[in-house]
Symmetry: C4
Subunit: 212 residues, 4 copies
C-alpha cells in the first residue's frame, strides 16, 4: 500500500469516527423530549395541552438537529480537502467533536427555560455553543490552510475565499445571536432558527454553485 | 480517483451516516422500557403482574423497532439507485433522518397512554410520525426521479412503478391508521402492527421478486 | 462492478449495520449503573457501602457486556460465510438485532431484583433473552445452510458440524439456565457467568482451532 | 481475495467496531450533565448560580471526553501495527472496550461527589478506571509483541521502546493519581487533568516525531 493510500485511509477513519459522533449526538437529542406524566384518567385534551405547552422542547430539538446536520455537512466539505492528518489536526478535530457532543445539554437547558424568566441564561449558553463551534471550525480551517502538506491539493483562491467567507459569516452571525440573548431571548433564538434554515436551504446551494 | 468514484464515495458516506442514525434510533427505543419500582419484599408474582401491565410498552417497542428496520431496508433500496448527491438530496435525506430520530418520543408516548383515556392523542401522534416518514420518502423519491443525473442509471418503468406503488401504499395505509386513531385506538394501532408485519414478510418478498 | 461485488457489498452493509447495533447496545448498558444519591454530608465509607450494595448491577453489567461481545463474534463468524442476502435473511438478521437491543432491559431488571424475593422472575426473563437469541441464531443458520446460493462456498462437513454443535450447545445450556431460574436464582445466574467465561476463553479457542 | 486481504479486513472490522464503542461512550457522557430543576419564577441569576455550582460535572465531563479521545488515538496507533487477529486478541480488545464503556459511570460518580466529603471514594474509582485501562492496553501490547505473526511487520526496536515507554508512563502516572485520591482529591483529579492535557498536546507530538 502506497504512503498516500495510508494517509487517505487515516483521514477516512477520522471522518468515520466523527460521523459516528455526529450521528449519536443528533439521535440523543430525542431523549430530552419528555413524555408528560398525567394522572390515570387524564383526557385527550389534557394530554394535547400538556404536549403543546412543551413547544420550546420541540423547537430546540429541531434547531439543534438541523444544526448538527449542517455541521456534519460542513465537516465533510472540509475533510474532502484533507489528504493527511497529524497530531494537531486530530486534536483540533477533537475540539469540534467536544462541542458537538455537548449540544444536547444547552438544548435541554433552553427547552426547560425558554418560556421562563431565566431564559436569557439558557439562550446565552445555547448560542455560546454555536459560537464555540464556529470558532473551533475556524481554528481547524486556518490550521489546514497554513499547512498545505495536509491538503490533497492546494486550495484555489476561490475555495480559500469561500471557506473564509462561510466561517466569518458563521462566527459573526452566531456572535450576534449570543449578544441578542442578553437583550431579547426570542430575537436571539429566532436568529438561530433563521440561520439554521439559511444554511440548510440557501447556504448549501451557494456551496454547490461554488463547487460547480 | 475518477469523478464517478468520488460521487459514489459521497453517497456511500450519506448512507453510512444514515445507517448510524437508524441503528442508534432503533437501540435507544429500549431506554423507554422501564424497570418496575416495587418495594423491597415484593413477591415474584407481583413483579410478573407489574411487568405484564406494561404490555403497551413492549408492543410499541416491537412495532417501532420493526418500523425502523423496514425504513432502513427501504432507505437502502433507494440509495443503491443513487450515484451522485447534491445539496437538496442531502437536505431531503436529513428530513427522513429527523423523523426517524424522533420515533422514540411518540413510541414512549403511546407506551404510556395506550391503555388510558388519552390514548387517541398518543396514537394520532404515533401514526402521524409514520405518515410524515412516508411523506419524506415520497419527496426524496420524486426528487431523484426528476433528477436523472443523480441516478446510477435511468430507472426502468418497472422500477419507477414499483417505487411509486410502494410509496403510495405506505402513504395511504398510514394515513388510514392516522384517521382511525380518532375513531378507535386499537384499530389504528392494530393496523400499524399489520403493516409492520406486511412489510417485514410479504412486502420484502414482492420487492425481491421485482428485483429478480 | 461485477454482480458478486455488489452482493458482497450488500452483506458488508448488513454486517456494518448489525455491528452498529451491537456497539450501541453494549454501550447503553452503562446507563443502568446508577450513581447512589446520598445526602450532602455522607462519608466516604457510606458511599463505599452504597456502591458495594449494588453488586448485582455490576455483575449483570459484566455478563451482559460479555454476552453481547460474544454475540458480535458469532455473528461475524456466521457472516463471513455469507456472500449474498435476500429478504428473508434480512428479516432473520433483524430478529437477532431485536433480541440484542432488548438486552439492556432484562439486565436492568436483574440488577434491580437479583437480591430480592422476586429475583426468579427477573432471572427467568434474563435467561429467556439468551434462549431467544440462541434460537434466532439457530433459525438464521438453518436458513443459510438450506440456501446454499447465499453462501460464498458450500460449507465443509466440519464447518457445518461446528456450527450445529455450537448452536445446540448454546440452546441447551441457556435453556438449562432458564429452567434453573425457577429453582435457584444463583445457580441460574451462575451458569450464565460460567457460559460467558466459557465462550470468551475456551469457546473462541475451539473455533480458532477449527479454523486452522 | 488473498488471505492477507481477509486478515486485514478482519482487523479493520475490529477497529471499526471499537471506534463505534469509543464514539458512543464519548457521546453518552453528556447525559450526565443534568439541567437544574428550578421553580417556575427563578431568575437568570439563580440559574447561573445553579449551573456554576455544578462545575465538577463539567470538569469530569471534559477530562473523560479528552481521555476517551486519547484512548481512541492510542488504540488506533496500536492497530495500524496489527495485520491479523486471533481469538485472544479479540478478547483482550474486548477488555479495553469494557473499561471504556464503563467510563460514564465513574465520571457521573465523580461529578456528583467531587465537592463533598465522600469525594475520595469517587476519585479512587475514577482513577482506578484509568489504571485498569492502562493495564488492559499493556496486556494487549505485550500480547502482540510476543506474537509476531499478528503484526504487519516486526516492530523496530524504536517502535517497541516507544510503546513500552508510553504504557509504562501511563500505568505509573495513573497509579500515582489513584494513590493520591486517598491523600488529596484535588491533587489526584488535578493530575488527571494534567495528564489529559499532556497526552493531547505534548504526547501526540512526541509520537508524531517518532513516526517521522
Amino acid at each position: 500500500m502506497s504512503e498516500e493510500t495510508t494517509d487517505k485511509k487515516e483521514t477516512a477513519r477520522i471522518e468515520a469516527f466523527s460521523d459516528g459522533v455526529f450521528a449519536i449526538a443528533m439521535t440523543l437529542l430525542v431523549l430530552e423530549l419528555k413524555v408528560p406524566q398525567l394522572d390515570e384518567v387524564a383526557s385527550g385534551t389534557e394530554l394535547w395541552i400538556a404536549l403543546l405547552s412543551r413547544w420550546p422542547s420541540y423547537l430546540a430539538y429541531l434547531v439543534s438537529f438541523l444544526f448538527i446536520l449542517i455541521v456534519w455537512v460542513n465537516h465533510h466539505r472540509l475533510f474532502v480537502l484533507i489528504g493527511r492528518s497529524d497530531s494537531r489536526l486530530l486534536f483540533l478535530n477533537g475540539l469540534i467533536l467536544l462541542v458537538v457532543t455537548t449540544i444536547p445539554f444547552p438544548t435541554a437547558l433552553l427547552a426547560e427555560y425558554l418560556d421562563r424568566p431565566a431564559a436569557w441564561v439558557a439562550c446565552a449558553l445555547y448560542t455560546a455553543t454555536f459560537v464555540l463551534l464556529a470558532l473551533s471550525f475556524s481554528v481547524l480551517s486556518s490550521y489546514i490552510s497554513q499547512n498545505n502538506h495536509l491538503l490533497i491539493r492546494n486550495l484555489s483562491p476561490a475555495q480559500q475565499a469561500g471557506i473564509t467567507h462561510n466561517q466569518r459569516f458563521s462566527l459573526i452571525s452566531y456572535s450576534i445571536a449570543f449578544a441578542l440573548s442578553f437583550v431579547n431571548v426570542y430575537a436571539s433564538f429566532g436568529l438561530c432558527i433563521l440561520l439554521a434554515i439559511y444554511w440548510a436551504v440557501i447556504g448549501y446551494e451557494q456551496v454547490s454553485k461554488a463547487d460547480a
